[in-house]
């Protein structure tokens, strides 16, 4: 507090300099007059009295000066003087200033942008009160799949038996059709137990949450709506409580409105791929087969004083007890406790930290470059500095002056950098992976600005200190005598320092390039992965039939069959098909255990499981999924249940090693009355959630055998698939005017979204590496240019003695390449040590891939050869006559 008060008092003094000095003058004068008066009173003659008074003051001017230094001047005034002087110096060298500021702005801008993202995702508190005590609870399957969704029965057991948690809630996402409020629309709904809002620390701003009665199966149909939904669909009406919404053609009463900013979406387990807008009670069946389905997500709040490890230990005992209690169902299953932040950003953290490290390196290179530029000017400013020293400036004073100049440069760089960062952030959000949806609110806020300021001050000192110390190391006499030409020792020191900086720049650039090269290679590998289907020219969209209107399976099947027939008839549509869970749609798909008829049932915990897909024959044709053996579905199977199945290669390998699966009968357990079906064919493997993982064993059933109320149409078009969307929508509207379609997207887009995170990392690291290389090239160019200037005489002499142009060119290139190679060798060592941090982000390429390293080293050498070439050519053209007369 005191320091700020003094600083502000001094600043005020500085701003009102004239007034303050006038005030001091008057006070001193009054004081003087009083001394004179006193002297006169003691009997001195007036003239003598005044002389004595002045004497008692000592040096009147210096007293005044000292008083001024306290009230406004001192360090602060000197600083402003230095700043003004520095600004003049920079303004006099616009080219130097522009290059330095631009270099710093790129470095600082990149850092600010990435730090904003890191701050938002990793540092800032999550938007839930006491979020550090929130955890997700998952099951772990016997085959080691982590973060598996939880069964009803096990959730109820946990909630009843655990002691570690202050509250525990289960939830599950859905999509529902909203009708009766303008256009029919699909909205995301989250079924949740009553505790959800309380566990997350939110209260409805209007109305209430769910009552115990509403939690019962077949209880009253109620919804709590999110703030956005309330504003958009209910006009923000405070009297919205009690209104009725038609969801899936059933009436739901609005009982509560949640506060603005409440958002709850766990992508890992969501089938909605969009945050929920409305919530309704998740009724928990306490017995029967429905308690077995594993599809719940569970969030819990740790009790005060309970640690994460404590809770995890208790949960381990739960798993053991559950395994004991229901062998056939829980055999081999475990559970895990995942902190909420880990859940939300755990997957992107490593990449973000690497990017943060990368921009840090870019900034270091930028600093080295500016340092280099400043060192190059040391020689030019030698005389000025010598002069200042000669008239009595102390070394520290000159260093301070030069550092102020550096700080001015870095501050200018930061200002420009902030503009770059603002642009960069917008671009960053546009290309960010879906996991980073929370980035919507990212921006240049106060903490980020504070960090940028700190970084810019640090960089100012970092790149300014060496040149400043170097400048003041001058030998006064020599400098003044030689008229600005550095002495031999001085020049050599300076050169060595600059060479070292260039070597460091090259080394740092190589580390970044190696990282970027590995990511690019990995991305290319990823793009080359065959997903198992042809994505080009395919449009996809989802129709989700409301249960209230389409009660019977028959009705649903009729709708879907009619829809595919009508879509197929649209001109420009080549083929159409449908599936319940489209590959790469971004959410989970169904999976279950299957039993092969005629084999003994495996013991609990050893069931074989397969992904379950419902599709028609058109699905395979449209996506070009090959039929490898047997026959495919026909239209007959779409009309009536024939109990036939197709399986993929992975399932053939898993379930029928060394056997012919065709003709075998398999029971796919999707409900209590699942009937066995006959395998009629084997189709190719299709990747579902990610290009990097192996295709899972998958069984396909036609819709009459297993009916879903939501299906995705896949439509192969003759022209641009995106352009067909309106026509297809219209055709579907003709079948049911109340039926919306959603998720209208091309298959190519879905596939490209699947590698969005990889693209994001690759693009950014590539960009930073490119920036680093450019800066390093500028550094080499600068050093070689001044080396040529320094060697002009020597080169002139060589040419005069008969050296050919080519020889001179080679001489300079060799000098530059020596520096480059030193940097490359250092950089390779650094890269070998650092690229292993990338291992988790790579696919199909080792973290020390020799081919990549070799290519990068060659590339950097080439770039630096080009940077050396221009100065070398200048050297080759030195006219010996001019060069030798040069001094």
């Amino acid at each position: 507090m005191g320091a700020i008060r003094i600083l502000s008092a001094r600043l005020r003094g500085l701003l009102r300099r004239e007034a303050v000095i006038g005030d001091i003058d008057e006070e001193m004068r009054c004081h003087l007059e009083m001394v004179v008066e006193a002297n006169v009173e003691q009997g001195m003659p007036p003239a003598e009295a005044r002389r004595a008074a002045l004497r008692s003051f000592g040096n009147f001017d210096s007293v005044r000066q000292r008083a001024w230094e306290v009230r406004g001047g001192g360090m602060l005034e000197t600083f402003f003087q230095d700043l003004r002087y520095g600004a003049r110096v920079l303004a006099r060298n616009p080219a130097f200033t522009a290059v330095a500021v631009l270099t710093l702005a790129l470095g600082i801008g990149a850092n600010t942008a990435i730090f904003s993202v890191v701050d938002q995702l990793l540092l800032r508190p999550l938007p839930y009160p006491g979020a550090e005590r929130l955890v997700m609870l998952w099951e772990v399957t016997p085959d080691g799949t982590h973060q598996n969704t939880v069964s009803f029965a096990n959730f109820l057991f946990w909630r009843r038996e655990t002691r570690s948690f202050a509250g525990m809630a289960a939830f599950s996402d859905q999509r529902v059709n909203l009708t009766g409020l303008g256009e029919p629309e699909e909205v995301s709904l989250q079924l949740a137990t009553a505790e959800l809002f309380q566990v997350l620390g939110f209260k409805p701003i209007l109305g209430r949450g769910f009552t115990p009665e509403e939690m019962l199966p077949d209880g009253p149909r109620v919804v709590v709506v999110g703030h956005g939904f309330w504003r958009r669909h209910l006009g923000g009406d405070p009297g919205a409580i009690g209104k009725v919404l038609q969801l899936n053609s059933r009436p739901y009463t609005v009982v509560g409105v949640l506060p603005e900013g409440f958002r709850w979406h766990i992508r890992k387990s969501s089938v909605a791929s969009r945050p929920a807008e409305i919530w309704s009670p998740l009724a928990l069946p306490t017995e029967g087969p429905a308690t077995r389905g594993r599809f719940l997500s569970v969030v819990a709040r740790l009790k005060p004083g309970v640690s994460l490890t404590g809770a995890a230990a208790e949960m381990k005992t739960m798993a053991a007890r559950l395994e004991n209690e229901s062998q056939e169902f829980n055999k081999g299953f475990g559970d895990e406790v995942v902190p909420l932040r880990e859940q939300l950003v755990g997957e992107v953290r490593p990449a973000l930290l690497i990017l943060l490290g990368a921009v840090g390196l870019v900034l270091l290179i930028a600093c080295a470059n500016v340092s280099n530029l400043l060192l190059a000017r040391v020689a030019a400013r030698e005389k000025e500095i010598a002069l200042r020293t000669a008239v009595g400036a102390r070394r520290l004073r000159v260093v301070r002056q030069l550092l102020t100049e550096s700080l001015l440069l870095s501050l200018l760089g930061s200002l420009l950098g902030l503009i770059f960062a603002a642009w960069g952030l917008r671009a960053l959000v546009a290309i960010s992976p879906r996991e980073l949806v929370t980035l919507q609110g990212v921006g240049l806020n106060l903490p980020v600005l504070a960090v940028t300021l700190a970084v810019s001050l640090a960089t100012g000192v970092l790149f300014g200190l060496a040149p400043a110390l170097e400048s003041t190391r001058l030998n006064l006499n020599d400098s003044l005598k030689e008229g600005g030409k550095g002495t031999a020792g001085q020049g050599a020191r300076n050169r060595r320092l600059r060479n070292a900086l260039v070597v460091a720049e090259v080394a740092l650039a190589l580390v970044l390039l190696a990282g970027a090269g590995l990511l690019i290679k990995s991305f290319v590998r990823l793009q080359a992965v065959d997903p198992g289907f042809r994505a080009d020219g395919v449009l996809t969209m989802v129709a989700r039939l409301p249960g209230g209107k389409y009660k019977e399976d028959r009705q649903k099947i009729d709708f879907f069959r009619q829809a595919t027939e009508r879509i197929r008839a649209v001109p420009g549509v080549r083929d159409v098909g449908m599936v319940n869970f489209l590959p790469f749609y971004g959410g989970l798909g169904a999976a279950t255990a299957y039993f092969v008829e005629g084999r003994p049932a495996p013991p609990p915990g050893h069931f074989t499981t397969a992904d379950v897909r419902v599709s028609d024959a058109g699905y395979f044709r449209t996506l070009g999924i090959p039929l490898l053996r047997g026959r495919g579905f026909t239209d007959v199977e779409l009309r009536e249940s024939r109990h036939v199945l197709l399986i993929n290669e992975a399932m053939a390998r898993q379930g029928f090693p060394g056997e012919n699966p065709i003709g075998k009968r398999v029971k796919v357990v999707m409900g209590p009355d699942s009937e066995p079906g006959e395998i009629i064919g084997i189709v190719g493997d299709v990747k579902f959630a990610s290009l990097t993982e192996e295709a899972k064993p998958t069984v396909y059933e036609p819709p009459p055998d297993l009916t879903y109320s939501a299906m995705t149409f896949v439509i192969r078009t003759a022209g641009d698939p995106g352009e067909m969307a309106p026509t297809v929508r219209r055709v579907l509207r003709e079948i049911d005017p109340d039926q919306p379609v959603s998720d209208v997207q091309t298959m190519e887009r879905l596939l490209s979204d699947a590698v969005r995170r990889n693209r994001f990392n690759t693009l950014l690291l590539g960009l930073f590496a490119g920036l680093a290389t450019l800066l390093a090239a500028v550094g080499i160019f600068g050093v070689m240019s001044s080396a040529v200037t320094l060697r002009t005489r020597e080169i002139g002499l060589r040419v005069a003695l008969g050296a050919q142009q080519g020889q001179v060119l080679g001489l300079i290139l060799k000098q530059g390449l020596r520096l480059t190679l030193a940097g490359v060798v250092l950089g390779l060592a650094g890269a070998l040590a650092l690229t292993r941090l990338l291992a988790g982000l790579l696919f199909g390429v080792g973290s020390t891939d020799p081919a990549t390293f070799a290519a990068i080293a060659a590339l950097l050498t080439l770039v630096s050869a080009i940077a050396c070439y221009l100065p070398a050519r200048r050297a080759a053209r030195v006219d010996p006559l001019i060069a030798l007369r040069y001094e």
Binding site: R5, A9, C30, H31, M34, S56, F57, G58, S62, V63
Partner: protein, 112 residues
């Protein structure tokens, strides 16, 4: 230009305390402060103008005294300094610690 530091710097804290003590009995101008310190010390302490004003301004910036232009007893314009609440608290703390120091030094000197 930087000037050599005032000699009283060594006794910076002490000078501050003396000034605060001087104005604690009522508002004073700079000349008055010098006179008051001289009186209180039985003419033993003579504060120079060159030391007084930097110290006075520093004290003012810390908020221990406040100043106001007024007229002295002979009707001459002068700037008067008044002890603030914070200044009084600081003075008391300084006096206490000074007493402790004096006591401690005395003890050390008596220990033979």
């Amino acid at each position: 230009m930087k000037l050599s530091k005032p000699k009283a710097d060594l006794l910076q804290g002490t000078l501050d305390m003396l000034i605060l003590k001087a104005v604690s009995l009522g508002a004073l101008h700079g000349y008055g402060i010098i006179q008051r310190i001289r009186q209180m010390s039985d003419e033993m302490l003579d504060v120079e103008q060159g030391s007084l004003y930097p110290a006075l301004y520093r004290i003012e910036q810390r908020g221990w005294v406040s100043s106001e232009w007024g007229q002295n007893e002979t009707g001459r314009r002068a700037k008067f300094y008044t002890l603030t609440k914070a200044g009084r608290a600081h003075l008391e703390a300084e006096e206490a610690s000074w007493d402790r120091l004096v006591l401690a030094v005395a003890k050390v000197r008596q220990a033979t």
